[in-house]
Amino acid sequence: MSSKLKKMCFILSKATIENVYAAFVMANGARMEGIDSEIFFTFFGLEAIQKKKLEKLHVATVGNPAMHIPTMIGGLPGMEALATTMMKKEMEKLDMPSVPEFIEILSDSGVKLWGCKLAIDMFHLDQEDLIEELDGILTIGDFYGRADEEGTHIVFI
């Protein structure tokens, strides 16, 4: 490949479904173009790699003007679940994989998946709470080390 873009490194710090999919679509898209890619899950982004939580991620209905739902209504019980169900239906129509299936695809495609050590300690998570596809637990310094190559970009989500 003649591309100057050789590697994309994503830091995922949020667990709303739109942010998780943004990271996953871009990471997968990179591999599909022959570009290396890695994701560093930190803070709330860790929800996307926790076995018990990754299937229950929601879209944010409060504080998200683009949803066009008034904040007061967006905050009612069940609104997030409803909006999420609707969004998932649209995603399925576009043949977008679910979060667990997407993780499997990413891993099989050679995307490196890393957990943030500090956040994992902070949330008192153990290895068994995390997905099997995880390539390891790193400090941010370790992650910078992995990004220290020409043609690498870091994107914070």
Binding site: M32, M96, E101, I105
Partner: protein, 102 residues
């Protein structure tokens, strides 16, 4: 754009994809693969046939489709066609480059 492949004149677009599938034959596919450093094996051809079948039925191609294909898994797909598997395999198959983001 015209291109001379495997002793035939083939019509391709600026990215090198065939614009007329009827001009495709195995020899053409083999030559295109070699240009991308891929030595075609039976396993490669199985995938190519699957892609062509999908194209014929006007079904969109995606990495998820590959996963569900039953023909090949994602890992092997990447190792057979390194450096952008769906892009390279569709080029070899003589079908258009998929427009999907996934």
């Amino acid at each position: 754009m015209k291109k001379f492949i495997a002793n035939q004149e083939i019509e391709v677009n600026d990215e090198g994809y065939l614009t007329d599938f009827s001009q495709w034959c195995k020899e053409v596919g083999k030559t295109l693969a070699e240009e991308h450093g891929i030595d075609m094996t039976d396993r490669h051809w199985e995938v190519i046939e699957y892609l062509q079948e999908k194209h014929k039925n006007e079904e969109a191609l995606s990495i998820r489709g590959i996963k569900k294909s039953g023909v090949i898994n994602v890992k092997d797909f990447y190792s057979l066609f390194p450096g952008g598997p769906l892009k390279k395999s569709t080029l070899i198959a003589g079908i258009p480059k998929p427009k999907s983001c996934i």
